[in-house]
């Protein structure tokens, strides 16, 4: 009896040690390869880390599904947003001629682009679905400048790991990792269904991230910040979403 117990004790002890050191090595590797989301420390961060790590390994370069023109929703749905600020109303009265997108942070040539300049950049048009975390969805044709083009223009530093983007509605800001920031379908969007991007859908400028849920596609963007760490932004959880109780990564 005592012999069996001792053997059991030794094997269990060895297995536990191997397990713990295995986990520690896995955590270190995951950190190095960018598989730990900034909200990993919240209450359900363990599940979130598994989701983000698994989907990053699976989807680094995959393309969001694109649809045929016949599949574009006849009734797109614009979710409610907070009432526009006086600043927004002033710009809207001027047909957004004075709207600017500032790009700062770890860039060789920080810049501020006017709406007209952005519309002059090379565009990409794609028919993708936008899915709200609530459960509803629609398909639209989006037209915009790939975010990667803007990152090239400002000379993003090689150590940049995240792009933080802010709405003119100051309580709405988000960030994405470089897998999504450099992704060809991630667009600084200014057109929808063959027209200007309507205000209820985020006009004049919306960042479309089609591999994530709708709340990552922030409306009315005015500023991009390139950074290697999200610690200094808000509560350090990555974006306004986890501060409001929602996951930072929304690939689901």
């Amino acid at each position: 009896m005592s012999q069996i117990s001792r053997r059991k004790l030794i094997t269990t002890g060895l297995a536990a040690t191997a397990g713990v050191s295995g986990l520690a090595v896995a955590a270190k590797l995951a950190g190095r390869f960018g598989l730990i989301p900034p909200d990993a420390g919240v209450l359900y961060g363990a599940g979130e880390t598994l989701t983000y790590a698994a989907q990053r390994l699976l989807t680094r370069h995959s393309l969001a599904r694109e649809f045929a023109p016949s599949q574009v929703s006849k009734v797109p749905f614009a979710n409610a947003v907070a009432p526009p600020s006086p600043e927004f109303q002033r710009l809207q009265q001027g047909a957004f001629a004075d709207w600017r997108l500032a790009v700062d942070g770890m860039a060789a040539r920080p810049a501020s682009f006017s709406l007209a300049e952005i519309k002059g950049f090379p565009t990409r048009t794609e028919i993708t679905m936008i899915q709200c975390e609530e459960g509803w969805s629609y398909i639209a044709e989006w037209k915009g400048v790939p975010l990667s083009h803007i990152l090239d223009l400002v000379g993003a530093a090689p150590q940049v790991r995240y792009v933080v983007y802010r709405s003119i509605q100051t309580d709405w800001w988000e960030s994405i990792d470089m897998a999504d920031a450099l992704h060809p379908q991630t667009l600084v969007t200014h057109g929808m269904n063959g027209d200007e991007l309507p205000v209820p859908f985020g006009g004049p400028l919306r960042l479309r991230v089609p591999r994530q849920l709708g709340y990552k596609s922030v409306k009315y963007i005015t500023r991009l910040t390139l950074t290697d760490s999200l610690k200094g932004f808000g509560k350090g959880l990555g974006s306004a979403a986890p501060e409001g109780g929602y996951a930072w990564y929304a690939g689901i």
Binding site: G47, L58, S62, R65, S73, V75, F77, M129, Y138, P210
Partner: protein, 276 residues
């Protein structure tokens, strides 16, 4: 364990030990082995892996159910095809108020929004369910649990055999003591359906709603007819799992709730002597 058992002196059987305990001990140990009903060296009714995974799945399923309902409440309308929203015609509507004011429900009020933590916990519980399921499946395949305990005997699958079990259930015939040590053919078929059809399908339809996952594997959603179809099918699959849960608990109740739950915790049902 086997060594221990051989060294153990034979215990004389107290008078009145039921025949099936003796027979069970015989068949399990593979030799004439006399034991008391309370002998703890008998292999348990449910193995440790089955018991642990059973309660882990219970925990994750209840969390998934609660959070799933909370997520549903934010948009209790269901659609077929790729897209659907408050401006399109639903396939059907769950007649409950919503937690978002933008959804037309016919109710004059909006429920509190619980989506944030519900989504976090839903996916964390899904991971727990997946890891537990993988442990259970590998145990079930490699240790013969499925072959031995869940795949029904060919003779039990005859129409006559099935009908007699169904008739017994309809007459609320209580299970005999012997039946506490094995599953009948209806139980076996139901468990196989839950393990190999419903759980995989609910995970599949869940993944088919993820824009990132389907960017890598578009077939996951395309064969279901679209993202909203996947959402609707996810609801149906969850509904069947809830139905299973209700019938399962009801059956455990009829068969003797305390004793069956005890067997799933300690591995052993109480013997008639212990209960006396």
């Amino acid at each position: 364990m086997r060594i221990l058992r051989r060294r153990r002196p034979r215990i004389q059987c107290p008078t009145g030990t039921p025949w099936y305990i003796l027979q069970m001990a015989d068949s399990l140990v593979g030799q004439t082995f006399v034991a008391t009903a309370a002998d703890t060296t008998l292999p348990p009714r449910h193995s440790a892996v089955v018991r642990v995974t059973h309660w882990l799945i219970t925990l994750s399923f209840l969390a998934l159910l609660l959070t799933g309902v909370e997520i549903l409440i934010s948009h209790p309308r269901f659609y077929w095809g790729e897209t659907g929203n408050a401006g399109t015609r639903p396939l059907f509507t769950v007649p409950i108020p919503a937690s978002r004011g933008t959804v037309p429900t016919g109710y004059g009020y909006v429920l509190p929004d619980q989506n944030g933590w519900s989504r976090y916990l839903h996916f964390q519980s899904a991971w727990l369910a997946v890891f537990t399921g993988l442990l259970y499946l590998s145990y079930g395949f490699f240790k013969g649990h499925f072959r031995r305990n869940l795949v029904p005997a060919r003779s039990d699958l005859s129409a006559r055999g099935l009908l007699s079990v169904i008739a017994g259930h309809l007459r609320f015939k209580p299970p005999s003591e012997q039946e506490a040590w094995s599953y009948n053919v209806l139980q076996r078929l139901t468990y196989l359906l839950v393990v190999f059809v419903l759980f995989p399908f609910v995970i599949w339809t869940g993944l088919a709603m993820s824009p990132a996952v389907v960017s890598a594997i578009p077939a996951l959603v395309n064969v279901l007819g679209g993202q909203q179809s996947a959402r609707t099918l996810h609801l149906f699959a969850s509904g069947f799992l809830v139905l299973f849960l209700l019938v399962h608990v009801l059956m455990v109740w009829f068969a003797g709730f305390r004793n069956r739950v005890r067997a799933m915790i300690t591995g052993r049902p109480a013997t008639p002597m212990e209960r006396a």
